[in-house]
Amino acid sequence: MNMTSISNTMLAICVAIAMQVAGPATAADKAPGTSPQANAAGKVSTADHGKFPELDRPFKTGPEVTQACLICHTEAAQQVQHTKHWTWLSTDPKTGQVRGKKNIINNYCTSVVSNEKDCMACHAGYGWKDQTFDFSVQKNVDCLVCHDGTGTYRKLPGYAGHPVYKRVEFPHGSGKFVEPVDLRKVAQSIQLPSRSNCGSCHFFGGGANGAKHGDMDSSLQHPGRYLDVHMDEKGLNFSCTTCHATKRHEVSGSRYNMMASRSGEAGIRGNADADPASCQACHGNKPHHQARLDQHTERIACQTCHIPEFARNDIGTELSWDWSKATIMGPDGKRMVRKDSAGRRAFDSQKGEWKWESHVIPEYRWFNGTSTYKVIGDKIDPSKPVQLSVVGGGADDPESRIWPTKVHRGKQPYDTVNMTLTVQHTGGEDATALWHNYDWQKAIGTGMNAAGLPYSGKFDFVETELTWPITHMVAPKQDALSCEQCHSKNGRLKDIEGIYMPARDGSRWLDIVGWALALLTLIGVVVHGAIRVVNSRKAG
């Protein structure tokens, strides 16, 4: 599982919901690749977990499996416990602000607090159901979600991160049943994380396939060259961890602390300073063999030209989520659900209204690697869209580059007296859960209480924006942007300030004076010539 995405807030619920739609990764998703990165346990590893007597026994629960893992992998659990995949926390090294999925408010399911039972379907652990979760218990680390080689290991919302141990109807009342996981089989299938392992959470973040990122969705399980030149199944066939190289379970490359620019030659894999998850780690920052293109790397991120669009498939990505439409019921007073023409969620009485798009042209921003997030309890100004996450940087900052971003816009509730975004209790089937009772007051009351925040009892909805850099789905080079897509009057970078771009910029008055000079000269010589012709005829 990779760190970049762990960063995605609220993944948890999301996956769960997504799985209702997309289903879990299947064994077929794990077709062995041709490269050693892909599901290679049986191919390149010196250990076949299917032959370990410690694993050849029935397991009742996930933690039991973890205990078996720890017999040999003595340091694994405490390693995981130091990572964002476990803590859901991230500290901004510059400001000291503590972010992470545990603390921030996002534009999708908003906040994990009071919704842990659902959200923790995507936590790499077992049993985080409320604020009392003990983060030091090693057996509660979930090894299987990242290392399952069967594609059958599935965590549903409502179980605080546990897989299904008993046959259960899911979703409740749907008449569909989920079979209990065969933990022995899963434990014996252990492998390095495949695209499907990471994707089981990161592709479905935000509650649906592709909803959250736009540059990550289930199409990356079997991508072609067009979609991702590195992951191309018939080509390089990279797994996530080829770039997100991992040491002591710490997955490199996190959106919380990104490297927005990297200078110099290509680095060495495994060198902690090399930031292996950046393009430049392998390509260097002068990769074009063409000076004019190479000089662009001083100001432009690789991604800007080489990811000309994101969500380059029919899955698409969500561009807005309007929570203010939630609790609007159908004519019969019951929950109403609607899909858009491409079969993607468009409305749900539980959650509000969504808008989706495929082949999205990014919005471009200066970015220096540091984003600022709204965390629970931050004051807001409701007179303008609240920036839940905003990328830092500018033209004057030498570390900044122009990056493609996905901007997700939405509306969510805030406390109109205390001027904070509210925490709402959404998931669950208890007396105050929004998705069960359709009552905002109750849901906010419970959520704010769980978060330890004051709630005035008055709420309204405010516009919100979430800006995330785009970095996956790198296109083949022939699909990169052409010069003119930026070097023109109304090009992709028309709103980028602080730099001079030939063909986009220029002095208006110089143009006026210059063309006037040329025109007057032309008129002058034409008149001069005409007089000569007329006079010579008279003379003649």
């Binding site: 000076a291 052409s482 030939p502 220029g506 210059g514 000079l517 010589v525």
Partner: protein
């Protein structure tokens, strides 16, 4: 009045003139596309061809400078105040009345006083302005390595490069027209092609 022919433009000079003329026209054409004035070749091709033309012109100039100094022809551009007023009177009045040209070129002094001034202006002002700004424009990526990134801004380099281009365009228009002001409307052009100028 008898028509006399004198040899004013040597072979290399004619080659230099015409290849330079083509390059400058081509660079105006591509340059203003890079500037964003219109769409013709496409930005990428315009930049590429503009650059190739620039290097070609640099090469041509290396030869031209060498030629001018080894032959002493550079003296043709030394400005003179002699007959400047007469020339201006001729262009503004006399030419309409069929008055005789006040300047008679010779092999040693082939440019009239206004030409000397105009060409010197091109050679000493418009040219260097374009060369200087063009060079830094071309090597924008090396500013940091050269330590000039704090001194220069691309915006101003582009501004003066474009300003130079406008001046060159105005010069070109006037220059082409003035070729018709010889003994006959085509005698100057013929001279630039054959080397032989018809004079009164």
């Amino acid at each position: 009045m008898t028509v006399e022919k004198i040899y004013v433009f040597k072979k290399f000079e004619r080659f230099w003139h015409w290849s330079q003329a083509l390059l400058i026209i081509f660079m105006l054409l591509t340059g203003f596309e890079v500037h964003g004035s219109y769409h013709l070749f496409g930005f990428a091709d315009a930049v590429g061809m503009h650059t190739v033309a620039a290097w070609t012109l640099v090469g041509l100039w290396v030869f031209a400078i060498f030629w001018h100094f080894t032959t002493g022809e550079w003296k043709q551009y030394i400005p003179t105040s002699d007959k400047v007023v007469a020339m201006m009177k001729f262009y503004s009045v006399g030419i309409f009345k069929g008055a005789p040209h006040p300047y008679r070129p010779t092999t040693l002094k082939k440019h009239n006083p206004l030409q000397r001034l105009a060409y010197l202006g091109v050679l000493l002002f418009i040219g260097p302005l374009l060369w200087f700004t063009g060079w830094f424009y071309l090597f924008f990526g090396d500013w940091k390595a050269w330590g000039v990134d704090g001194l220069l801004s691309l915006e101003w380099i582009a501004f003066f490069h474009t300003a130079g281009a406008f001046m060159m365009l105005a010069f070109l228009i006037a220059h082409i027209y003035l070729t018709t002001t010889g003994h006959t409307p085509t005698s100057h052009i013929k001279a630039m092609i054959t080397g032989w100028e018809e004079v009164d």
